[in-house]
Amino acid sequence: MGETPHRSADAGTGGTRVTQSHEWPAGASARVAEAPVSTRSPDGSGLGGGGALPRARAFGAERAFHGLTLAAGTTVLVIIVAIAIFLIAKAIPALRANTASFWTFEGWFPNDNPPTFGIGALAFGTVLTAVLALVMAVPVAMGIALYLSHYAPRRLGNALGFLIDLLAAVPSVVFGLWGRDYLIGPVTDFSGWLNKYFGWIPIFGGDGPYGNSILLGSLVLAIMVLPIITSLTREVFLQTPTANEEAALALGATRWEMLRTAVLPYGRPGIIAAVMLGLGRALGETIALALTLGATYSISFNLLESGGNTIAANIANRFAEANDTGRGALIASGLVLFAITLIVNIIARAIIYRRREFTESAA
C-alpha cells in the first residue's frame, strides 16, 4: 500500500546505473533481460555496489499493469454514472408524454392515450413497507445476535450462526413464494382479529378483504432481512474486546449491564451499518413484494386491507404489458428508486466512515 515505494519510479531518478553481473534471483530474471543496462562488461565483472535498479520505461509491464488496474477502478465510477445517464435518457420521453403530475398523481396508466402515471403512491409504499419491515426485524435481529454471541453456549452459537448465514443467502423469490402460499393464511386471520378489536385505530381500520396487505408484505420483508441483519450484527458483537466485557463484569455489572455498557456502544457503528444495509435491501426488494402485495395505487396508512405497492414490485408486475411509454415510465420510477437508495447508501456510508475513524482513533 502506501508504505511500499514506487520501485520503477525511484529507479528512473538514479544518475549512473550500475549493475552487478552475478546471478539474479529467478523471479527477476525476466526483468534483467528487458532492462537496459548501461555498464555491463562482457566478462561479467561489473562495477558492483548498490542502486542496481532497472530503468523505468514509458511502456513497460509496470506501467501497463498500473494502467489496467486504474481502468478497472474507473469502470466502477463509469458504471454508476452510466446507470444514471441511461435511466434519465430513457425516462425523459415518457415523463414528457405524461399528462398527469408525476409526483402526486395516484395511478399508473402509461399505456393509455394520453398516458398518465404518478410515482407518489409507489414511493410512499416503498418507504412504508421498508420502514415497517425494519421496525419489526431490527429488535428481533439484535436479540438473536446477542443470544448467539453472549447467551448461547459457544458451540451452539457458532452452529446456529452458520445456519443464519445460510438463511441470509436464500433467494428472495423463495420468501415471496412462502409468503404468498403459506403466510397469507395466518396473516389473514390475524388481520381479521386486529380489525375486530383494534379497528378504532386508523391503521387497523377498513373492512377487508384482508390478506395481500402491507402487513403481509412487510412481514415477509422483515423475515427476509432478519438473517442478513442478524449475521452482520452477530459478527460485530463477537468482535467486542474481551477485556471490555470482563472489566464491566469485574465492576459488578449484571450480564445485561455488561451488554449495555460494553458490547452495544462498541458495536454501534456496525449496528448502524447493518440496519442501513437491511434498509437498502428492503427498499430495493422486488419479487417478494410483487408476490405478496395487493398492487393498488393509493396513498393509505391502512396496513390490513389488500393493497399497497412499491416501485420495484410495480416494475416487475407491469413490465410485461408495457409499451414504449410504459417502459419509459417504469424506467423513470426506477430512477426514483435509484435516487432513494443512493441517498440512503451515501448517508449510511458517510456515517460509517466517520464513525470508523472515530472509533479507531479512540481505541
Partner: protein, 361 residues
C-alpha cells in the same frame, strides 16, 4: 492464603447476608405456568381469541411477573437483567419459528415434483392441464448467465481491488472505494433497468436488424453489475490481509511491483478471494428481478445466451408462481428447492474454504 484459611476455620458470622437474596430455582417456571393460566382465563373468559393469543399474552404476563418478582426479591438491577435475558431468548424463539416454517415448506412442497422428468425436460409445449414439465431450460439459463457474469466480473473486480489496495492514492482511490460501497446497495431491479435501457434498447438493435432483443447475455450483464461490488470488497479485504513482509521480500529480491502482485500477493490471498467470488455467485444466482426484465424467459431450451429469450431458475419460480395451472405451484416449489440447494451448496463450500484460509484467522 493464611488469612483466608483462618477465616474459614472461624465459625461463619453471617454467611447468609454475604450473598444477595435470589429467586429460588422454581420461581421462573412457576411464574410461567401462572402467566399461561391467567392468559388462558382472560382469553377464553372474554372470548377474544385462540391458543396463539394465549401464548402471546402469557409471554407478556410472564415478563411482567418475572420483573415484579425479581424486583421484590433481588432488586432492580437483577430484575432488569432477568427481564432482558428473557426478552433476548424469546426474540430467538420468535425468529426461529418463521424461518423453520420457510425451510419446512420448501422441503416438503419441493420434494413433490423432485423427479428425473423435472431436470430433463423444459416447459416447451406444456399446457395448463399438463402435470409434467420441467426446469431443464431454466437450469441451463442460470448456469450460462451466472457463468458469463463471473467471466466478466472476476478479472474486472480483481483489477479494481488491486488498484484500490496497491496503487490507489488520494481522493480518486477514496472515491472509487466509496462508490464501490455505494454500488453494493444498488437494487437488483435498477441494474436490470440499466441493462434494459443500455443494452436491450440501445445496443442490441445494432446487430439484430434494428429490433431490440432480450437475451441471456443481457441478464449476465445485469448480474455482473450486482456482483462487481461484492467481489471488489471481499478481494480488497483479502489483499489487505497479505503480510507486508511478503511484499517487501519480493521487492528486496528485485521483483517488479506488478510481478509481486501477480506472483506473491494474489496467490497468498487466493483462498479468500475464491470464497468472496463464490458468495457473490450464490447471491447472483438467486436474483430474479433483472432476469425478469431482460432475459425474456422463454419456455424452450436455448443454449445460446446471445440470441433469443432465455429463462433462469429464479425467473422460472416467479413465472410458475404466477401461472394459473394447478400444477404450477408444485413446479415452482421444486424449482425453488433446486435453486436453494444450488445456492446453499455454493455458500457452504465457500464458508468451508474460508475456514481453511490461514490469512483471515
Amino acid at each position: 492464603m493464611s488469612t483466608l484459611t483462618s477465616h474459614r476455620t472461624r465459625p461463619p458470622a453471617q454467611p447468609e447476608t454475604l450473598r444477595a437474596r435470589r429467586l429460588p430455582a422454581y420461581a421462573a417456571p412457576a411464574i410461567a405456568v401462572a402467566a399461561l393460566a391467567l392468559a388462558a382465563a382472560i382469553v377464553y373468559g372474554a372470548g377474544i381469541g385462540g391458543p396463539v393469543l394465549v401464548i402471546v399474552l402469557g409471554a407478556l404476563l410472564y415478563l411482567v411477573g418475572l420483573f415484579a418478582a425479581a424486583n421484590a426479591v433481588e432488586g432492580r438491577r437483577a430484575a432488569r437483567n432477568r427481564t432482558w435475558s428473557a426478552l433476548i431468548h424469546s426474540a430467538f424463539v420468535l425468529a426461529v419459528l418463521p424461518l423453520v416454517s420457510v425451510v419446512w415448506t420448501l422441503v416438503s412442497k419441493g420434494a413433490q415434483r423432485l423427479d428425473a422428468d423435472f431436470f430433463l425436460t423444459s416447459m416447451n409445449n406444456i399446457g395448463a392441464r399438463d402435470p409434467n414439465g420441467g426446469a431443464y431450460h431454466a437450469i441451463i439459463g442460470t448456469l450460462e448467465q451466472v457463468g458469463i457474469a463471473v467471466l466478466i466480473t472476476v478479472p474486472l473486480g480483481l483489477l479494481c481491488a488491486i488498484y484500490i489496495v496497491e496503487y490507489g492514492r488520494g481522493k480518486f482511490a477514496f472515491a472509487i472505494r466509496f462508490f464501490v460501497d455505494v454500488m453494493t446497495g444498488i437494487p437488483s431491479i435498477v441494474s436490470g433497468l440499466f441493462v434494459l435501457a443500455f443494452w436491450v434498447l440501445i445496443v442490441s438493435p445494432w446487430f439484430n436488424d434494428g429490433r431490440p432483443s432480450f437475451s441471456g447475455f443481457a441478464a449476465a450483464l445485469a448480474l455482473a453489475v450486482l456482483m462487481l461490488p461484492t467481489i471488489v470488497r471481499s478481494t480488497e479485504e483479502m489483499l489487505r490481509l497479505v503480510p507486508a513482509p511478503l511484499r517487501e521480500g519480493a521487492y528486496a529480491l528485485g521483483v517488479p511491483k506488478w510481478k509481486t502482485i501477480l506472483r506473491v500477493v494474489l496467490p497468498t490471498a487466493l483462498p479468500g478471494i475464491v470464497t468472496g467470488v463464490m458468495l457473490s455467485i450464490a447471491r447472483a444466482a438467486g436474483e430474479t428481478a433483472p432476469v425478469l426484465l431482460i432475459a425474456g424467459g422463454g419456455a424452450a431450451i436455448n443454449f445460446n445466451p446471445f440470441e433469443n429469450n432465455q429463462s433462469s431458475l429464479s425467473l422460472y419460480v416467479y413465472q410458475q408462481a404466477g401461472s394459473a395451472s394447478k400444477y404450477a405451484p408444485d413446479r415452482a416449489w421444486t424449482a425453488a428447492l433446486t435453486l436453494v440447494a444450488l445456492v446453499l451448496i455454493l455458500t457452504i463450500a465457500a464458508k468451508l474454504l474460508a475456514r481453511r484460509n490461514r490469512l483471515s484467522r
